[in-house]
């Protein structure tokens, strides 16, 4: 590629290389308190995510569904017994770097990359505080990120021993290519309930005017 590209300047790499890995490579030094985080949250986050991180309006809830036991085991019990109606962020996230990195790069949603490093530490701390992971006086910093991560309710909740990362991985199921008399007991076990028929609008208007088929009328049309 003779003549193409040029060496990046240190300032350029700094401007864009903002990612933070689970081993905290990339994490800028700094700190932020739960107290300060609450201010940030109420001013800049609560409108979308709810005062308690519970809102289901703009996105699924950030906080909820975890217990003190989960913090001890690092496994969220409600993921197993299905006792929580929805999976919140804190029920899933195994790595604190992930939260820090994502808030730093993407939040607030309509003004990403507008937070200071201190504000990112602080609001991350406040989310953990709302989830009962840290206390009200907690100050999150680069020195205690690892220790705090060790309290995440679902930190032990991931497995990577599956064959689905690479196309060359081994599949987890093996169907047989049966060609006749395969499933004598097969029957319909689920279908759209009648009340939901119109939930996706008038399907007639979502199919072509010609062709082998027409769309089914699912919404009564004016004048018909």
């Amino acid at each position: 590629f003779e003549g193409l590209g040029r060496v990046a300047t240190p300032a350029e790499v700094t401007a864009w290389d903002i990612d933070v890995r689970p081993d905290f490579v990339g994490l800028p030094k700094g700190s932020g308190s739960v107290q300060k985080g609450m201010e940030v949250w109420d001013a800049q986050c609560a409108s979308c995510h709810g005062v308690f991180g519970e809102s289901n309006e703009i996105f699924t809830p950030i906080v909820g569904g975890t217990s003190v036991t989960d913090i001890q085991t690092g496994r969220v019990q409600s993921l197993k017994d299905g006792s929580s109606p929805q999976r919140t962020t804190l029920m899933k996230v195994p790595t604190l770097s992930t939260l820090w990195d994502y808030i730093n790069r993407a939040m607030p949603w309509n003004a990403p990359k507008s937070l200071s490093t201190e504000e990112v530490y602080a609001v991350t701390a406040y989310i953990l505080n709302m989830g009962g992971v840290v206390g009200d006086d907690f100050v999150l910093s680069h020195t205690n990120m690892a220790a705090t991560q060790a309290r995440l309710p679902n930190r032990n909740g991931m497995q990577t021993n599956h064959g689905m990362w690479l196309p060359s991985g081994k599949p987890d199921v093996k169907e047989t290519r049966c060609m006749s008399n395969c499933t004598p007991d097969a029957k319909v076990i689920s279908f759209m309930p009648d009340y939901a028929k119109d939930a996706h609008g008038n399907l007639k208007d979502q199919n072509r005017l010609v062709g082998p088929v027409r769309g089914v009328v699912t919404v009564a049309q004016a004048g018909t």
Partner: protein, 403 residues
């Protein structure tokens, strides 16, 4: 069993008025060339649109619009109907101001303009892209009525670009230590995903700017996106601004909070990426009405993130018996593949249509029963189960699960 409003030719004794009375276009002068310097579909095709699934997401900037496969042909997806999935909205970026940075475990950290990337040796390849959450609403139950919503987070294009490995080599990549790459976009979320170096070494991962002969569409990452054949769409980072070579995975938001698959034991599978072998009948499909008894072409699409499609079987009795369909048209690696099977509907029987694909690794697309036995029904992602459509006695087609 026939439907009102269908357009079979209404012959009077003398004949069809559409023939006997010459249409205006046979008796007049049409529009000049280049009336549309960039052309559009017929006004009669407006029903085929990208659509959201009501209630699925809460806000349009973090949502999905589905591709209308109920009315598409062949394997190429028209770029105007390519499915969309945005996490922080889409942009139309000035390509003269866009840059790609390569950093991390390379001898020279470098910056490239779009001009420079487009001067490099390129390749063009046809690949499908499927969101890991495609068919995700249907893990437990039937939830949506048509193939647009069951399978429409899927598209297939001819992509043109530069194999990423060539650019990394040009920067002096350390392939011994650098076993992972972080791909980062320039959108609000600066979307990030980890790509294992094996994939890049295969030469298949592209820095792509071309899609179906022209530049990528803004909704698909104009002017630069990563193409990661076989892997779920979220890894095909749009508005690509940076590639970092590292020695560990990055645990980004969309690999530690989403795109993780919940198993029955309460553990999530992390870094599930490959889109396994799958297929769906697109005609006839849910929400459609057969016009009358007689001949039909059962047609659909098959694809596999692990290789080529080698066979597709079709059942009309809910999986009891199967016939092998014809693979019509081009068969490419990690590409949509069109299948067809002739079929006669007697105009009165109930029918349960299914398709089952086989890929070049001999993997056979699983039934819901097989898949749920292993994974339960809460994993959201990577649902590649056999789809069933019930044709009722009146010729109306319904989305159903068979078990």
């Amino acid at each position: 069993a026939s439907t009102p409003g269908m357009a079979i030719s209404q012959s009077t004794a003398k004949g069809d008025p559409a023939i006997l009375n010459l249409p205006l276009h046979s008796k007049g002068l049409g529009q000049p060339v280049a009336t549309m310097p960039y052309g559009l579909p017929s006004q009669y095709e407006k029903n085929l649109q990208r659509r959201e699934s009501p209630g699925l997401t809460r806000v349009g900037g973090s949502s999905v619009s589905f591709c209308p496969f109920q009315g598409l042909f062949g394997i190429i997806t028209p770029s105007g109907l390519h499915f969309e999935r945005h996490h922080q909205g889409w942009w139309d970026i000035d390509p003269t101001q866009h840059r790609l940075m390569i950093n991390g475990l390379v001898k020279k950290e470098m910056v490239f303009t779009v001009d420079e990337l487009m001067r490099m040796e390129s390749v063009s390849r046809v690949h499908f892209i499927e969101c890991g959450a495609n068919s995700g609403m249907e893990w437990a139950n039937v939830a949506v009525p048509t193939v647009q919503y069951t399978h429409g987070m899927l598209s297939c294009s001819e992509f043109t670009g530069v194999p990423l490995i060539k650019v990394l080599e040009f920067c002096g990549v350390d392939l011994k230590k650098g076993r992972f790459v972080l791909a980062e976009g320039a959108d609000g979320s600066s979307m990030t995903r980890t790509i294992p170096m094996e994939l890049i070494e295969s030469g298949e991962v592209l820095l792509a700017y071309g899609q179906n002969g022209e530049m990528l569409r803004p909704e698909n990452g104009y002017p630069l996106r990563l193409v990661v054949p076989g892997v779920q769409g979220v890894s095909w980072v749009k508005y690509l601004r940076r590639i970092e070579v590292g020695d560990k995975p990055y645990g980004t938001k969309d690999e530690a909070i989403h795109y993780i698959d919940l198993m029955p034991d309460g553990l999530h599978r992390q870094y599930t990426s490959v889109q396994e072998c799958k297929s769906v009948i697109t005609t006839p499909s849910g929400g459609q009405q057969l016009l009358s008894p007689g001949f039909y072409n059962i047609t659909g699409l098959a694809w596999s993130g692990r290789g080529k499609i080698t066979a597709v079987d079709v059942s009309t009795d809910g999986g009891r018996n199967w016939k092998t369909a014809k693979l019509q048209g081009p068969v490419h690696d990690k590409s949509l593949t069109r299948f067809n099977l002739p079929w006669v509907w007697d105009g009165k029987s109930e029918v349960l249509l299914q398709s089952r694909a086989v890929d070049s690794t001999a993997y056979v697309q699983p039934s819901y029963r097989t898949l749920r036995d292993k994974r339960g029904d809460k994993s959201i992602y990577h649902n590649n189960a056999i789809q069933s459509w019930r044709v009722d006695a009146a010729g109306e087609v319904h989305n159903v699960h068979v078990g």
